[in-house]
Protein backbone atom coordinates (compact mmCIF):
# COMPACT_ATOMS: atom_id res chain seq x y z
CA UNK A 1 0.00 0.00 0.00
CA UNK A 2 1.06 3.55 0.65
CA UNK A 3 4.58 4.24 1.81
CA UNK A 4 4.91 6.48 4.85
CA UNK A 5 8.09 8.17 3.68
CA UNK A 6 6.22 10.35 1.21
CA UNK A 7 6.37 13.86 2.65
CA UNK A 8 3.20 15.82 2.55
CA UNK A 9 2.68 19.23 4.07
CA UNK A 10 -0.29 20.77 5.83
CA UNK A 11 -1.78 23.29 3.39
CA UNK A 12 -2.48 25.59 6.35
CA UNK A 13 0.81 25.67 8.24
CA UNK A 14 3.29 23.67 6.11
CA UNK A 15 3.96 21.17 8.91
CA UNK A 16 4.94 17.69 7.65
CA UNK A 17 2.12 15.19 8.04
CA UNK A 18 2.55 11.52 8.89
CA UNK A 19 -0.04 9.60 6.91
CA UNK A 20 -0.73 6.06 8.09
CA UNK A 21 -0.30 3.19 5.67
CA UNK A 22 -4.01 2.33 5.74
CA UNK A 23 -5.12 5.87 4.89
CA UNK A 24 -8.18 6.08 2.65
CA UNK A 25 -9.12 8.51 -0.07
CA UNK A 26 -11.33 11.29 1.34
CA UNK A 27 -10.28 10.48 4.88
CA UNK A 28 -10.22 13.35 7.36
CA UNK A 29 -7.09 13.89 9.40
CA UNK A 30 -6.12 16.55 11.91
CA UNK A 31 -2.85 18.46 11.54
CA UNK A 32 -0.81 17.79 14.67
CA UNK A 33 0.67 21.28 14.51
CA UNK A 34 -2.16 23.70 13.74
CA UNK A 35 -5.09 21.37 14.50
CA UNK A 36 -6.58 22.12 11.10
CA UNK A 37 -8.96 19.51 9.69
CA UNK A 38 -7.59 18.14 6.43
CA UNK A 39 -8.92 15.78 3.80
CA UNK A 40 -6.81 13.34 1.81
CA UNK A 41 -7.93 14.26 -1.71
CA UNK A 42 -5.40 12.05 -3.51
CA UNK A 43 -3.42 8.99 -2.40
CA UNK A 44 -0.98 8.75 -5.32
CA UNK A 45 0.47 11.26 -5.24
CA UNK A 46 -0.46 12.08 -1.68
CA UNK A 47 -2.33 15.39 -1.54
CA UNK A 48 -4.13 17.19 1.30
CA UNK A 49 -6.66 19.96 1.23
CA UNK A 50 -8.42 21.89 3.95
CA UNK A 51 -11.58 19.93 4.81
CA UNK A 52 -14.89 21.63 4.05
CA UNK A 53 -16.26 23.64 6.99
CA UNK A 54 -19.04 22.20 9.14
CA UNK A 55 -22.50 23.08 7.80
CA UNK A 56 -25.76 23.76 9.59
CA UNK A 57 -27.29 20.36 8.77
CA UNK A 58 -24.25 18.29 9.72
CA UNK A 59 -24.65 15.82 12.53
CA UNK A 60 -25.35 12.25 13.51
Amino acid sequence: MLAVQEAVLCPMCDATQEISADAMLNELIACGDCGGELEIVSLQPLRLELAPPCEEDWGE
Binding site: D22, M24, L25, N26, E27, L28, E39, A51, P52, C54, E55, E56, D57, W58, G59, E60
Partner: protein, 309 residues
Protein backbone atom coordinates in the same frame (compact mmCIF):
# COMPACT_ATOMS: atom_id res chain seq x y z
CA UNK B 1 -20.28 -10.73 18.10
CA UNK B 2 -20.21 -12.52 14.75
CA UNK B 3 -17.51 -15.08 14.10
CA UNK B 4 -15.06 -14.25 11.40
CA UNK B 5 -15.66 -16.37 8.34
CA UNK B 6 -13.28 -16.98 5.45
CA UNK B 7 -13.79 -14.37 2.73
CA UNK B 8 -16.14 -15.48 -0.04
CA UNK B 9 -14.74 -15.52 -3.58
CA UNK B 10 -14.86 -11.99 -4.99
CA UNK B 11 -17.49 -12.79 -7.61
CA UNK B 12 -20.09 -14.13 -5.17
CA UNK B 13 -19.69 -11.40 -2.60
CA UNK B 14 -22.78 -9.23 -2.33
CA UNK B 15 -21.92 -5.66 -3.27
CA UNK B 16 -22.95 -2.78 -1.04
CA UNK B 17 -22.25 0.94 -1.22
CA UNK B 18 -21.47 3.28 1.62
CA UNK B 19 -22.50 6.87 0.91
CA UNK B 20 -20.33 9.34 2.81
CA UNK B 21 -19.55 13.04 3.01
CA UNK B 22 -15.96 12.07 3.85
CA UNK B 23 -14.19 9.20 5.60
CA UNK B 24 -14.02 9.41 9.38
CA UNK B 25 -12.91 6.78 11.91
CA UNK B 26 -16.41 5.26 11.83
CA UNK B 27 -16.54 4.84 8.05
CA UNK B 28 -13.09 3.29 8.04
CA UNK B 29 -14.10 0.78 10.73
CA UNK B 30 -17.36 0.03 8.93
CA UNK B 31 -15.70 -0.57 5.60
CA UNK B 32 -13.24 -3.02 7.15
CA UNK B 33 -16.04 -4.78 9.02
CA UNK B 34 -18.21 -5.07 5.90
CA UNK B 35 -15.35 -6.74 4.04
CA UNK B 36 -14.73 -9.12 6.96
CA UNK B 37 -18.47 -9.93 6.87
CA UNK B 38 -18.05 -11.14 3.30
CA UNK B 39 -19.34 -8.09 1.43
CA UNK B 40 -17.78 -5.90 -1.22
CA UNK B 41 -18.06 -2.26 -0.18
CA UNK B 42 -17.74 0.69 -2.55
CA UNK B 43 -17.41 4.15 -1.04
CA UNK B 44 -19.45 6.86 -2.78
CA UNK B 45 -19.22 10.58 -2.05
CA UNK B 46 -22.37 12.65 -1.61
CA UNK B 47 -20.64 15.62 -3.29
CA UNK B 48 -20.34 13.58 -6.51
CA UNK B 49 -23.96 12.45 -6.76
CA UNK B 50 -25.89 13.35 -9.90
CA UNK B 51 -29.29 11.73 -9.65
CA UNK B 52 -31.62 11.62 -12.65
CA UNK B 53 -34.97 11.86 -10.91
CA UNK B 54 -36.90 10.82 -14.01
CA UNK B 55 -34.88 7.64 -14.54
CA UNK B 56 -34.39 4.46 -12.51
CA UNK B 57 -31.67 2.45 -10.77
CA UNK B 58 -30.18 1.49 -14.13
CA UNK B 59 -28.35 4.82 -14.12
CA UNK B 60 -24.72 4.94 -13.06
CA UNK B 61 -23.49 5.80 -9.59
CA UNK B 62 -20.53 8.26 -9.46
CA UNK B 63 -18.10 5.33 -9.89
CA UNK B 64 -19.81 4.29 -13.13
CA UNK B 65 -21.47 1.18 -11.72
CA UNK B 66 -25.25 0.96 -12.17
CA UNK B 67 -27.01 1.60 -8.88
CA UNK B 68 -29.07 -1.56 -9.21
CA UNK B 69 -25.94 -3.69 -8.76
CA UNK B 70 -25.89 -2.67 -5.10
CA UNK B 71 -27.67 -5.01 -2.71
CA UNK B 72 -27.80 -2.22 -0.16
CA UNK B 73 -26.69 1.35 0.34
CA UNK B 74 -25.49 2.30 3.80
CA UNK B 75 -26.02 6.04 4.35
CA UNK B 76 -23.19 7.51 6.42
CA UNK B 77 -23.29 11.18 5.38
CA UNK B 78 -22.66 13.85 7.99
CA UNK B 79 -24.77 16.09 5.80
CA UNK B 80 -28.22 15.14 7.00
CA UNK B 81 -30.06 16.82 4.13
CA UNK B 82 -27.92 15.09 1.49
CA UNK B 83 -28.30 11.74 3.21
CA UNK B 84 -32.07 12.09 3.47
CA UNK B 85 -32.61 13.14 -0.13
CA UNK B 86 -30.33 10.40 -1.41
CA UNK B 87 -32.19 7.82 0.69
CA UNK B 88 -35.50 9.07 -0.65
CA UNK B 89 -34.38 8.76 -4.27
CA UNK B 90 -32.60 5.42 -3.92
CA UNK B 91 -35.43 3.85 -1.97
CA UNK B 92 -37.84 5.13 -4.60
CA UNK B 93 -35.88 3.13 -7.16
CA UNK B 94 -36.50 0.00 -5.11
CA UNK B 95 -33.02 -0.19 -3.59
CA UNK B 96 -32.45 -1.25 0.02
CA UNK B 97 -31.29 1.76 1.97
CA UNK B 98 -29.95 1.56 5.54
CA UNK B 99 -31.26 3.39 7.51
CA UNK B 100 -34.62 3.51 5.78
CA UNK B 101 -35.69 6.97 4.61
CA UNK B 102 -38.67 7.22 6.94
CA UNK B 103 -36.62 6.27 10.01
CA UNK B 104 -33.88 8.76 9.11
CA UNK B 105 -36.43 11.50 8.39
CA UNK B 106 -38.05 11.04 11.81
CA UNK B 107 -34.71 11.02 13.63
CA UNK B 108 -33.30 14.01 11.72
CA UNK B 109 -36.18 16.19 12.89
CA UNK B 110 -36.48 16.63 16.66
CA UNK B 111 -40.14 17.59 16.46
CA UNK B 112 -40.98 14.46 14.46
CA UNK B 113 -38.93 12.32 16.85
CA UNK B 114 -40.79 13.75 19.85
CA UNK B 115 -44.18 13.19 18.23
CA UNK B 116 -43.37 9.65 17.15
CA UNK B 117 -42.07 8.69 20.59
CA UNK B 118 -45.03 10.35 22.31
CA UNK B 119 -47.46 8.32 20.21
CA UNK B 120 -45.64 5.17 21.32
CA UNK B 121 -45.86 6.21 24.97
CA UNK B 122 -42.09 6.60 25.44
CA UNK B 123 -41.16 8.86 28.41
CA UNK B 124 -39.41 12.08 27.33
CA UNK B 125 -38.66 15.54 28.74
CA UNK B 126 -41.53 18.02 28.28
CA UNK B 127 -41.34 19.92 24.98
CA UNK B 128 -42.99 22.97 23.40
CA UNK B 129 -42.88 23.91 19.72
CA UNK B 130 -43.42 27.53 18.62
CA UNK B 131 -42.74 29.65 15.55
CA UNK B 132 -42.06 33.15 16.85
CA UNK B 133 -39.91 34.52 19.69
CA UNK B 134 -43.05 35.80 21.48
CA UNK B 135 -44.79 32.43 21.38
CA UNK B 136 -41.50 30.78 22.29
CA UNK B 137 -41.20 32.92 25.42
CA UNK B 138 -44.76 32.01 26.50
CA UNK B 139 -43.93 28.35 25.92
CA UNK B 140 -40.80 28.68 28.05
CA UNK B 141 -42.87 30.24 30.86
CA UNK B 142 -45.04 27.13 30.78
CA UNK B 143 -42.00 24.84 30.95
CA UNK B 144 -40.34 27.07 33.61
CA UNK B 145 -36.63 27.91 33.75
CA UNK B 146 -33.97 26.70 33.26
CA UNK B 147 -34.92 25.22 29.91
CA UNK B 148 -33.13 24.08 26.79
CA UNK B 149 -33.47 25.56 23.30
CA UNK B 150 -32.56 23.23 20.46
CA UNK B 151 -32.49 23.52 16.70
CA UNK B 152 -35.00 21.08 15.15
CA UNK B 153 -32.31 19.82 12.76
CA UNK B 154 -28.61 19.17 13.30
CA UNK B 155 -26.83 17.59 16.22
CA UNK B 156 -23.39 17.41 17.82
CA UNK B 157 -24.70 19.77 20.49
CA UNK B 158 -24.29 22.75 18.23
CA UNK B 159 -26.64 25.70 18.84
CA UNK B 160 -27.96 24.06 21.97
CA UNK B 161 -28.63 26.69 24.61
CA UNK B 162 -29.59 26.35 28.24
CA UNK B 163 -31.54 29.46 29.21
CA UNK B 164 -31.82 30.44 32.87
CA UNK B 165 -34.47 33.14 32.54
CA UNK B 166 -36.73 35.00 30.13
CA UNK B 167 -34.14 37.67 29.46
CA UNK B 168 -31.57 35.13 28.28
CA UNK B 169 -34.20 33.30 26.24
CA UNK B 170 -35.38 36.48 24.55
CA UNK B 171 -31.84 37.43 23.52
CA UNK B 172 -31.24 34.02 21.96
CA UNK B 173 -34.62 33.79 20.23
CA UNK B 174 -34.32 37.31 18.79
CA UNK B 175 -30.78 36.60 17.61
CA UNK B 176 -31.83 33.40 15.83
CA UNK B 177 -34.84 35.15 14.31
CA UNK B 178 -32.55 37.76 12.78
CA UNK B 179 -29.50 35.76 11.82
CA UNK B 180 -30.48 32.11 11.69
CA UNK B 181 -31.90 30.20 8.75
CA UNK B 182 -35.50 29.01 8.70
CA UNK B 183 -34.78 25.85 10.68
CA UNK B 184 -33.29 27.92 13.50
CA UNK B 185 -36.36 30.12 13.68
CA UNK B 186 -38.52 27.18 14.74
CA UNK B 187 -38.52 27.19 18.54
CA UNK B 188 -38.06 23.75 20.07
CA UNK B 189 -37.95 24.26 23.81
CA UNK B 190 -37.32 21.36 26.16
CA UNK B 191 -37.60 20.92 29.90
CA UNK B 192 -34.13 20.96 31.48
CA UNK B 193 -33.37 17.65 33.18
CA UNK B 194 -31.01 17.91 36.16
CA UNK B 195 -28.91 14.89 35.32
CA UNK B 196 -26.23 13.24 37.46
CA UNK B 197 -23.23 14.64 35.53
CA UNK B 198 -23.65 12.12 32.75
CA UNK B 199 -26.07 10.84 30.19
CA UNK B 200 -26.56 7.51 28.48
CA UNK B 201 -26.02 6.60 24.87
CA UNK B 202 -27.36 3.21 23.80
CA UNK B 203 -26.47 1.59 20.48
CA UNK B 204 -29.31 -0.23 18.78
CA UNK B 205 -29.01 -2.68 15.90
CA UNK B 206 -32.40 -3.45 14.40
CA UNK B 207 -34.54 -3.03 17.49
CA UNK B 208 -32.12 -4.47 20.03
CA UNK B 209 -29.60 -2.51 22.13
CA UNK B 210 -26.16 -4.14 21.92
CA UNK B 211 -24.32 -1.90 24.40
CA UNK B 212 -24.45 1.50 26.05
CA UNK B 213 -22.04 4.06 27.44
CA UNK B 214 -22.21 6.75 30.08
CA UNK B 215 -20.93 10.05 28.78
CA UNK B 216 -19.61 12.06 31.69
CA UNK B 217 -18.97 15.75 31.41
CA UNK B 218 -18.75 18.84 33.59
CA UNK B 219 -20.49 20.70 30.80
CA UNK B 220 -24.26 20.14 30.63
CA UNK B 221 -24.01 19.09 26.99
CA UNK B 222 -22.56 15.61 27.39
CA UNK B 223 -21.43 14.89 23.87
CA UNK B 224 -18.24 12.89 23.29
CA UNK B 225 -17.58 15.20 20.34
CA UNK B 226 -17.28 17.94 22.98
CA UNK B 227 -14.97 16.03 25.26
CA UNK B 228 -17.38 13.92 27.34
CA UNK B 229 -15.65 10.84 28.78
CA UNK B 230 -17.13 7.44 27.94
CA UNK B 231 -17.50 4.44 30.26
CA UNK B 232 -19.57 1.26 30.08
CA UNK B 233 -23.25 1.54 31.01
CA UNK B 234 -24.90 -1.76 31.96
CA UNK B 235 -27.91 -2.76 29.87
CA UNK B 236 -30.50 -2.95 32.63
CA UNK B 237 -33.92 -4.46 31.82
CA UNK B 238 -35.43 -0.97 32.10
CA UNK B 239 -32.93 0.52 29.62
CA UNK B 240 -33.30 -2.40 27.22
CA UNK B 241 -37.09 -2.09 27.27
CA UNK B 242 -36.97 1.67 26.69
CA UNK B 243 -34.54 1.25 23.78
CA UNK B 244 -36.52 -1.55 22.15
CA UNK B 245 -39.75 0.42 22.31
CA UNK B 246 -38.15 3.65 21.07
CA UNK B 247 -36.32 1.91 18.21
CA UNK B 248 -39.48 0.10 17.16
CA UNK B 249 -41.40 3.39 17.21
CA UNK B 250 -39.08 4.95 14.61
CA UNK B 251 -38.94 1.82 12.47
CA UNK B 252 -35.69 0.28 13.74
CA UNK B 253 -32.27 0.29 12.12
CA UNK B 254 -28.80 1.43 13.13
CA UNK B 255 -29.50 3.93 15.87
CA UNK B 256 -27.83 5.69 18.79
CA UNK B 257 -30.32 6.60 21.49
CA UNK B 258 -29.57 9.40 23.94
CA UNK B 259 -31.20 8.77 27.29
CA UNK B 260 -31.37 11.06 30.33
CA UNK B 261 -31.64 9.97 33.96
CA UNK B 262 -34.19 12.17 35.73
CA UNK B 263 -33.68 13.02 39.44
CA UNK B 264 -36.57 10.67 40.31
CA UNK B 265 -34.70 7.81 38.62
CA UNK B 266 -36.87 7.60 35.53
CA UNK B 267 -35.17 7.14 32.15
CA UNK B 268 -36.21 9.71 29.54
CA UNK B 269 -35.56 9.36 25.81
CA UNK B 270 -33.85 12.55 24.65
CA UNK B 271 -32.78 12.07 21.03
CA UNK B 272 -32.24 9.37 18.42
CA UNK B 273 -29.28 9.61 16.04
CA UNK B 274 -29.51 7.76 12.74
CA UNK B 275 -25.87 8.15 11.61
CA UNK B 276 -24.30 6.99 14.83
CA UNK B 277 -20.79 7.87 15.88
CA UNK B 278 -19.19 5.09 17.86
CA UNK B 279 -15.40 5.34 17.57
CA UNK B 280 -14.96 5.82 21.33
CA UNK B 281 -17.63 3.36 22.42
CA UNK B 282 -16.29 -0.09 21.48
CA UNK B 283 -13.36 0.09 23.90
CA UNK B 284 -15.34 0.88 27.11
CA UNK B 285 -18.15 -1.58 26.26
CA UNK B 286 -16.03 -4.38 24.80
CA UNK B 287 -18.55 -4.65 21.97
CA UNK B 288 -17.33 -4.45 18.37
CA UNK B 289 -20.00 -2.06 17.12
CA UNK B 290 -18.69 -1.95 13.54
CA UNK B 291 -18.84 -5.76 13.35
CA UNK B 292 -22.42 -5.73 14.66
CA UNK B 293 -23.40 -3.15 12.04
CA UNK B 294 -21.73 -5.20 9.29
CA UNK B 295 -23.55 -8.33 10.41
CA UNK B 296 -26.86 -6.44 10.27
CA UNK B 297 -26.08 -5.28 6.73
CA UNK B 298 -25.00 -8.80 5.73
CA UNK B 299 -28.23 -10.31 7.01
CA UNK B 300 -30.21 -7.65 5.19
CA UNK B 301 -28.62 -8.44 1.81
CA UNK B 302 -28.38 -12.22 2.00
CA UNK B 303 -30.89 -14.12 -0.08
CA UNK B 304 -33.49 -15.76 2.16
CA UNK B 305 -32.27 -19.33 1.57
CA UNK B 306 -28.70 -18.47 2.60
CA UNK B 307 -29.79 -16.88 5.86
CA UNK B 308 -30.77 -20.27 7.30
CA UNK B 309 -27.19 -21.61 7.19
Amino acid sequence: MSERRPPAPQSTRPRVAMLVTHIRAEEKLLREALVVAGLTCDVLLDRELRLDLLADAGQAAPNGRPWREYEAILIRTVSQSRGLLAALVLEGWGLRVINRYETAAICADKARTTLTLARAGIPQPAVRLAFTPAAGLSALDELSYPAVLKPVVGSWGRLLARVRDAEEAEAILEHRQTLGGYAQQVVYAQEYIEKPGRDIRAFVIGERPICAIYRASEHWVTNTARGGRASNCPLTPELVSLCERAAAAVGGGLLALDVLEAPDGRLLLNEINHTMEFRNSSAPTGVDIAAAVAEYVREAVLPVRARAE
